[in-house]
Each structure stands twice: as structure tokens, then as C-alpha cells.
Amino acid sequence: MSVFIIRRLMQAILVVWIMSLLVYVGVHIVGDPVDMLINPEADQAEIARVIRDLGLDRPLHEQYWYFLKNALQGDLGNSFIFNEPALKLVVQRIPATFELALAALGLAVVIGIPLGVYAGLKPDSKISQTIMASSILGFSLPTFWVGLMLIMFFSVMMGWLPSFGRGDTETIFGVEFSFLTWDGLTHLFLPALNLSLFKLSLVIRLARAGTREVVHQEYIKFARAKGLSQNRIIFVHLMKNIMIPVVTVLGLEFGGLIAFSVVTETVFSWPGMGKLIIDALHNLDRPLVVAYLMVIVVLFVFINLVVDVLYSILDPRVRLRDLKG
């Protein structure tokens, strides 16, 4: 077991290192931040001074070595635009993104499971067919366009919900949250709905497939024979058993939600990590881009590591195959 974990850990570190190299070299080939940052009226001496201050006059491998040494100490450089530590800027935005992703996950479960269970219990009814047809649509709709249409309908035409920002936030342990105030909730609803759309379709399909399988099981028949009410059978016996695959898949998909929040955050100007990276890309703010990508790579490598280890505990074959290979 420990051999397996060590091997996976080494592999994770290798992936992070290769990514850091790719990201750093790649980002430094694009654009010239000097043009952007220096006052166009600055003279030669001034320009030379700024280039020296930013370390842009050294060869690339020296810059990377310097970057790596600092990165290991948690210093990813200062943002060119904000003139603050890049890592701090990214980490500050993490709670907003996580709040959005969790809200989306919650919506997907709360809306998706009842619809999926209904479709599974009455597979031939018109409503069920409509549910399934719209879940296919949910897979095909481009997220950003749906976001625009949500704003169009709910904010511009109806004027019911605000279309951008986080609204009022409440601070707990020094972290701001939107879902604790009414204003924040109204701001959270549309982006969360937008982000959840894809997962919602997934949950509907999983819940439907699970229900259709479970209703024919012996224990449901037994519960029925005991004379339990329909509600009790559905909410206790059936629900518990369809939740296992749903929870597993959603756990795995959480990373995907964080990645896709880039799109939703841009549409709704939600001040999370995704909005930050898109703005940084437009401003050629290299340290910020590198910091975001490193944070997200570490985050994903960590999620994957945890999933791998959990799987190997649940299913020893995974571990044994890996050791042989």
C-alpha cells in the first residue's frame, strides 16, 4: 500500500514539475509585458531600469531557475498589474469559485434527483420523455451561450435577478460568502444554475438509470409486500440505493466544475479564479497567469491523487496492476 502511495506521489510531483516547466516557458513566449507596463513616454534609461527590476533581461532558463527556487518557498512573483504577490491574489479568489461550484453541485442534486427518479418510475409518460429529451439538450448547449440567455431573460427582460457580481457578502473567519445574505443569494442563483446545467443532465441520467435498476430489486418488492407507503419506499429504500453512484460521480466531477467556472465567471463577472485568469491573459500579466495555472494544476493533481488512493483502498486490483506495470 505505502509503495503504491509513494509511487503515485512521485508521479504527482513529476506532473507538477513538467507542468511548471511547460507553463513557464509557454507563457513567456507570448507577448511582451514591457510594452504594456511602461509609460510610452518613458526614456531609454527608464525602460532599461524597469526591465532590470522585473528580471526580464536575464536568459529564460535563468529566469525559470529563479522562479522555481522562489516557487518552492511559496513565492510566485508579483503581479505586473496589481503589484501584489500573485499567489495571494489567486488564493484570495478561491472561496468565490468554490462557493459557486458547490452551489452548482447542490442545484444539480436538488433538481436532478427528483426529475431522474420520476423519469425512472414512469419511463413511458410524456413528462418523463420531456425530461430525458431536455437532458440531451443539456449536454449539447454551450454553457456560455446559456449564461447569456439567462441574463437576457431574467435580468434584462424580466428584471428579476441581478446579472453580475457577488452582491452583499458576509464574512466568516475572514472569508467572504454570498449565500448568507439575501442579496448575495440572488446574485448567486443565475451563475450557479448556469454552471450546474451540464451536471444536472448527468444527475438526471444517473438517477433514472439507478431507479430503473433498483425498483426491480427484491428489497423493494419486500417493502411493498410489507405494506409500506409508496412515499416511504421511494424516499427511504429507493433513494438511499441510487445515491451511491450519484455521489461517486459528482465527487469526481467537482474538478470539472472548478475548471468550467472560468466560463460562467466570465459571463456573470463573478469575481473568482476563472475571471482572474481571463483578465490576466488579456493584460499579459505573466506572474498571475503562471500562479493561477500552478494553483489549478496542484489542485487537480491533489484531487486525482486522493481519488486514486481511495480507489486502491476500495479495489485492491488497481494497486496490484499498477505495481506489476
Binding site: 507553463v23 507570448v30 449539447s140 451561450w145 491573459l281 495555472l293 489549478i296
Partner: protein, 304 residues
């Protein structure tokens, strides 16, 4: 490709060609057939856009800013009727969508094809040679697939910059792993069958066994993944272009058209974003429906 179909035809020609059988099965689902027809119309529009578009949205002489933001169905000062309205710069939306489809479909199909060829070669190599080759290729595939596609594309485009060639490269790198995994899985099954053994006994070259014997038998799942991934590529390109990291503004794909309409939406001018989105949606849905039906038709387990 033409070689492989010939080979299949020779085997079955007297009774019924596989193409005819697949076509007959495909037609049984009316929705899929309708989707195929819609898809063909879209492809024709994309191919012949310059000839069938009512106006040329990129001809500076005929576009006037005075015609900007006209609602659908209105007539411009110069007497042209814009069925779907105009955008901020006075370009007719219907024509812009026709030209946009050209770019969106072109990028999607091109990247899916290159990824298919590259992924299929890697998958075949992994399955046929096994051992170290297999381990290395599949480890790369595993690591890559553990990151969401949009994230990989974002990292790549942050490094590569904007441009048609660059987004195609990014989409190919994002997608090849799906093909490699699919081809490897079916090639592993095929490899242990007698006909491959027979070919090995005849001392045929590796290349010949791989390309003429293994590949044709791995084609059905590859075609299915190919259609689904094309839809995926089109959607991803639109998303990236909307985010401003995909295509440059000189190549206005559907994603960029939608993005252009974003700023006008707050004042209620919905059509600039709405119609290109509908075009995108219809394209993706019809490709997905055709892909679904292909999966059912090409799956030998579902055949009577």
C-alpha cells in the same frame, strides 16, 4: 480509407455491402435521419457561404455603421432587408452566421480529423507492441484525461497565443487521448483473434498488419467517437473564442459573433447573441444525434 472499404466490399459484395446495411439501419430512426439532413444543409451552407449569403458582411464598401443594431426583419437605409437584424457594426447577422459556420465547422472538423489520425496511430501502436510502448503512451493518456478538456486547452492557448493554427493544435492535443484510448481498447480485442494470427503466420510486415488488418476492424468505435468529438471540438472552440483566447477577431467564428453581441445585450438587443447561438446549438445537437444513431447501428451487440 478507400483501401479499407474496398477490402470490406470484396468480402461481402455478393450478399449486401456493409455500407448498404448500415444505411438501412440508420434510416430506421426518423429523428436521426432528420438530424443528418439538417447537418448536410449546415455543411452546404458552410461550404457555399460566399455564394448564398444575402450580403457580404466583410466587404467594407457595402457595410455601413448607420445600419448597426437593426432588429430582425428591418430594412436598412440602402434598402436591404436584414432577416435576422444587424450587429453593432452594421453587418447582416444571417450572412455573418453563414460565414461563421464556415470557420466553426472548419476548425472543428480539421482538429477532429488530425486528432483521429494521430490518436489512432498511438492507440494502435500501444495495443500492438504492448510492453513499454503501451505503458508510456497510456500513462500520458491517463494523466491528460485526468484534467478537464477546457483547462488543458486554456493552458495550451495561454502558451501558444491566438490564431486558427494554434487553436487547432490545442484542440488536437486535447482530443487525441480519447481516440488513442478507444482504438487501443478495441485493437487489444482484435489482436487476439485468429485472423491476426493468420496474418502473422504469413509473415506480413507490422505496418501491413496494423493498417490493413487491425485498423479496419477498429473503425466502428472510431467513427462514433469521431462524430461526438467533432461536436465537442466545435463547442470548445466557440467557448474559447468567447473567452477571448481562441480565434483572433479576423476569423469571426460563431463563438466570436456571440461574444460581440454580449455588450449590446444589456440594452435589450438580444438578436446579436441569440441567433449565432441557435446556429451553434442546431449544429451541435444534430451532430450528437447522428453520432448516437451511428453508435447504435455500428454496435454489433445490438444487431439481431
Amino acid at each position: 480509407m478507400s483501401d479499407t472499404t474496398n477490402e470490406e466490399k470484396m468480402d461481402l459484395a455478393p450478399i449486401e455491402t456493409p455500407f448498404k446495411r448500415i444505411w438501412a439501419d440508420f434510416c430506421q430512426n426518423k429523428i436521426a435521419l432528420a438530424a443528418l439532413i439538417v447537418l448536410l444543409i449546415i455543411v452546404c451552407i458552410a461550404l457555399f457561404a460566399p455564394w448564398i449569403a444575402p450580403t457580404n458582411p466583410y466587404d467594407l464598401a457595402s457595410v455601413s455603421i448607420l445600419d448597426g443594431k437593426l432588429p430582425p426583419g428591418s430594412e436598412s437605409l440602402s434598402g436591404v432587408t436584414y432577416v435576422l437584424g444587424t450587429d453593432g457594426a452594421g453587418r447582416g447577422l444571417l450572412s455573418s452566421i453563414f460565414y461563421g459556420l464556415r470557420i466553426s465547422l472548419g476548425v472543428g472538423v480539421m482538429s477532429a480529423l488530425v486528432a483521429l489520425v494521430f490518436g489512432a496511430i498511438m492507440g494502435l501502436a500501444a495495443a500492438y507492441y504492448g510492453g513499454r510502448v503501451d505503458t508510456i503512451i497510456m500513462r500520458i493518456v491517463d494523466i491528460q484525461l485526468s484534467f478537464p478538456a477546457i483547462l488543458v486547452a486554456l493552458i495550451l492557448l495561454a502558451a501558444l497565443g491566438k490564431g486558427v493554427d494554434k487553436i487547432i493544435i490545442a484542440l488536437v492535443i486535447v482530443q487525441w487521448a480519447y481516440y488513442a484510448r478507444t482504438v487501443r481498447a478495441s485493437a487489444l480485442v482484435e489482436r487476439s483473434k485468429e485472423y491476426v494470427e493468420a496474418a502473422t503466420c504469413l509473415a506480413l510486415s507490422d505496418r501491413r498488419i496494423l493498417l490493413r488488418h487491425l485498423l479496419p476492424n477498429c473503425l466502428p468505435p472510431l467513427i462514433v467517437i469521431g462524430t461526438v468529438q467533432t461536436a465537442h471540438a466545435i463547442s470548445l472552440e466557440a467557448t474559447l473564442s468567447f473567452l477571448g483566447v481562441g480565434l483572433p477577431i479576423t476569423e469571426p467564428s460563431l463563438g466570436l459573433l456571440i461574444s460581440n453581441g454580449f455588450e449590446y445585450m444589456m440594452s435589450g438587443k438580444y438578436w446579436i447573441s441569440f441567433f449565432p447561438g441557435i446556429a451553434l446549438l442546431v449544429t451541435i445537437v444534430s451532430i450528437n444525434l447522428v453520432g448516437d444513431q451511428l453508435r447504435d447501428v455500428l454496435n454489433p451487440r445490438l444487431q439481431k
